[in-house]
């Protein structure tokens, strides 16, 4: 049994599978939410970036779900407790979003998320007593490391934006 920094109690490999699934599923939700925000705020480039990220996370989630077979990972994760004190590693900071954000910013956000997930699984490998959990965790570490590198590669396509990236010559509109 190990307690992750997020407070989750991992008593079996299936528990870890459930948590990993939820990390991916939450990421899908988060990136979809951000894609929707970008759509409403007329930033089509970012819509594509976030939908791509959501799709990638969705594939990972699906792979994990297949691994679990008939086990209902969602229910399992519920029983582990949706949250403990403080936040879990899967949170993408929505506060960092901006309607003028560039793909570079989005990938920074994704990178932070992947690194956090990597850190989470790494800590499990360090603290888990059960060898099966240790092994599964180290597999996820490899996966997440690949994701981190993928994001780094994608980031090379974009240069860091100029300091004026958030400049909008139009004033804000009062709506109510």
């Amino acid at each position: 049994m190990s307690k992750a920094p997020s407070g989750h109690t991992v008593s079996s490999p299936v528990d870890l599978l459930a948590i990993a699934y939820r990390i991916e599923a939450d990421a899908v939700q988060r990136y979809t939410l951000l894609a929707d925000q970008m759509e409403i705020h007329n930033n089509p480039e970012l819509v594509k970036v976030f939908r791509d990220l959501a799709r990638a996370e969705g594939i990972h989630a699906e792979e994990i779900r297949k691994q679990a077979g008939d086990i209902d990972l969602v229910a399992r994760a519920e029983r582990l407790g949706r949250w403990q004190k403080g936040e879990s590693p899967e949170e993408v900071d929505l506060g960092s979003a901006h309607y003028l954000m560039t793909p570079w910013h989005a990938l920074e956000l994704a990178l932070a998320g992947e690194k956090r997930a990597l850190g989470f699984f790494t800590s499990i490998t360090e603290t888990a007593k059960d060898p099966k959990i240790k092994e599964m965790a180290s597999e996820f570490v490899e996966e997440e490391a690949e994701h981190v590198n993928l994001v780094y590669r994608l980031m090379r396509k974009y240069s860091k934006p100029a300091d004026t990236w958030a400049q909008d010559l139009d004033p804000p509109i009062s709506q109510d």
Partner: protein, 278 residues
Amino acid sequence: MSSIQTRLACNPADYKSDIKPIWCPGCGDYHVLMSFTRAFAELGLLPEKTVVVSGIGCSSRIPAYTSCYGFHGVHGRSLALATGLKVTRPDLTVVVASGDGDGYSIGGNHFLHACRRNVDITYVVMDNRVYGMTKGQPSPTTEPDFDTALSPGGTGLSPFHPLVIALAAGANFVARAFSGSPNETASILVEAIRHPGFSFVEVLSPCVTFRPDEREWKNRVHPAPVAATNDPGKAARRIMTDDGFNIGILYRGNRLPYQAKAEPRTIDLAELEREFEL
């Protein structure tokens, strides 16, 4: 909270509508919406038995973004509307959403009396210390030296301290949350909704457009150093040294929630005219 109707195995996604928010990306209210849906899911609320009531302002747009019943009323009057609703429909779960302008300025009077009246509703104020919807005027919680178009150089006025007011006016549950910790905010909301009587939760929710300085809040918030108390005196002492960034439940009171006086049996309508008869 015996009047909550619940069901099992709820997904927060069930409590979101398909309407996409107009909030600026980066707005703390996205996290608050997340907290709402997580809290409703945790409580197993039935969306059709849950009503989100609001006034006017960015925060007040939230009802339509949930799949529950909602009322987007006029500026500052959401507590009165929610009171009339809850008193006549005690079977519903009523959550009131507001902002620092809607709730503490024009809604200030109703805030006092709602705390005093102690009807079993939950009041969530998304405080960004500015009037966001109308382009950046100071609100009652804005710092005195914050420069704005309507108050150049700052208002010079002491900011309103909502937790002090709530406690003094008799609120039965007083807490502060931070939108950047949506899970923790959800936990606090769960407790607030469960707690009988008037529950007040002030949620610090940064405005990315008019208060970009509020990005710093995530570094300034900290857990309250001590657990909640049910002693109003203790709570009052603690709040006097509050730095405005203590996160957690301050006070859980024991006041009985408001109960409308009900007669044991109803009479025939025809009885009402007896007093006029000659």
